[in-house]
């Protein structure tokens, strides 16, 4: 394998598995998550030499995934409509989430959220980013992240409060 290819393979193995996990939480679909992470990887590689801070590749990849995900709004609007119809018959989630059924319902509710609300919740509670860091990834203000998180949590009837960091 050529040195350039070895470098690509290293970058891929270091970053893409985590990227797929993030993409899965955003899409809820394994194949779509893998495609999204790989698309983002290819796009970032194209701009890699333009990055002023190569160490920022992981953050750049994360941002590209979120951008690609939220840019595909038209397709996902259909998904959300379908999920909303499917979810309409599901029981309301209690805040105590006592069983697997409730967790699955919650998972489905997460997937019905608008992409940016979902992304804000995933970045805050899975990636464990601060509001400031999540704002960088989403390309918006801290106030917007707070708003997106609160609206997402409210839509899911979660009492997760504000974890200011």
């Amino acid at each position: 394998m050529e040195p350039a290819e070895t470098r690509l393979a290293e970058l891929y193995s270091r970053h893409v598995p985590a990227a797929i996990r993030l993409a899965y939480l955003l899409t809820g679909d394994r194949q779509q998550a893998e495609d999204l992470a790989q698309d983002a990887f290819v796009r970032c590689i194209g701009r890699f030499r333009h990055l002023r801070v190569p160490d920022a590749f992981e953050a750049y990849l994360r941002r590209t995934i979120v951008n690609l995900h939220t840019s595909g709004l038209r397709r996902r609007r259909l998904e959300r409509a379908w999920l909303a119809r499917e979810g309409a018959t599901a029981a309301r989630v209690s805040t105590s989430m006592p069983d697997v059924g409730a967790r699955e319902t919650l998972w489905r509710q997460l997937l019905t959220l608008p992409p940016r609300q979902r992304a804000a919740l995933v970045l805050r509670y899975y990636e464990d980013l601060s509001e400031r860091e999540a704002a960088d990834v989403l390309g918006c203000s801290v106030a917007s992240v707070k708003s997106l998180t609160q609206r997402g949590a409210a839509a899911m009837r979660l009492e997760i409060g504000s974890e200011e960091r």
Partner: protein
Amino acid sequence: MNDAERFRQLLFEKAGEPTTSVRLPDAVLRRSRLRQLRTIAGGFLASVAVVGLVAVQIGRRDTTTPADRPTGVERTVWIAGARISAPASWYLIDRWGSPTEASDPPGEQPLVQLTSWDPGLDRSICGAAIPDDGVALYVGLERHGDSSDPAPVWPTVVGDDTPISDGPCGAGRYVRFRPWDRTLFAWIGTGTNADPVAKHELFDRFNDMRVDPWPDEDATSFTEPTYVVAGEAGQDPVTRGWKLEVRPSGLNIELILDAFNGGSISDFTDLDQSTSSPQVCCAYGPRDTSDPVFGAVAEGVRGVRWIPLGDESPTDATILSLPPTMPFDLDIFFAPNPANVNGRAELIAPIPAAP
């Protein structure tokens, strides 16, 4: 265990569901290598395009291109906590969050630049040579402003009687001011033969700036600088309206619509420049109805109209040229989309065949 902890646990459980291979698939390797080659080729072609474009412009006047298409419209936008307006023919550059360069004053986070000429995005105008007829405004945020700083509070008025001195950006009018708890620094530079009208226009734009409490603590992003080509400001930095920005991408251009409801949305457009069809990027979303649709189109088209889905009344889009330092065969367009629905963009007239 509270809801936040349960929700976090759910996310971690779900994240573990996809089985991921660490091996780079051949298809992804091929695409990655192709992408890298395209990026390199794009840079080379861009250089060739500059030379070619100059030669073509010297040799003939392109009759298919409306003459003197502007590179911006009169716009008022929020850039972080500062609201600033720019004349249509001037260049407004958002540098909030972009890396500090050697030319930037030490200890400062660059915020915004406004110039009467296109200075490019490669470097800050601070310390750069000003064209004889040029005027320039540079505003930065002092990272470690002291609360006891004696700088005057906003508003600060600049005019002909503001003394000219030497400073980190060169000769010009320097102002430090403290709106709320942040200290800002501004440099106003003018060329040796600057038109007094342009100079006073710049003074007015600076004096009309509004500075509100900073929504963000610090700019830690690695965002590259962008041209702000259009926008409408909201009443405060939180309900900030929208702005349309452009900067180079790997292949050609990246367009960014920065809007309050839904944050910003961007696309690495990498547009196919060989097609004459309008290409709408990020056309709409579940955002504010005041947000426009936007996209890029082959350079020189006579016009583009936006046709919302289910609506028979098309709207003519505003078309802008790219700044001269972005030598791609593309124009930008944007159009209001008050119904906030999807639709399509069409050329108003076909592109005439090349002579």
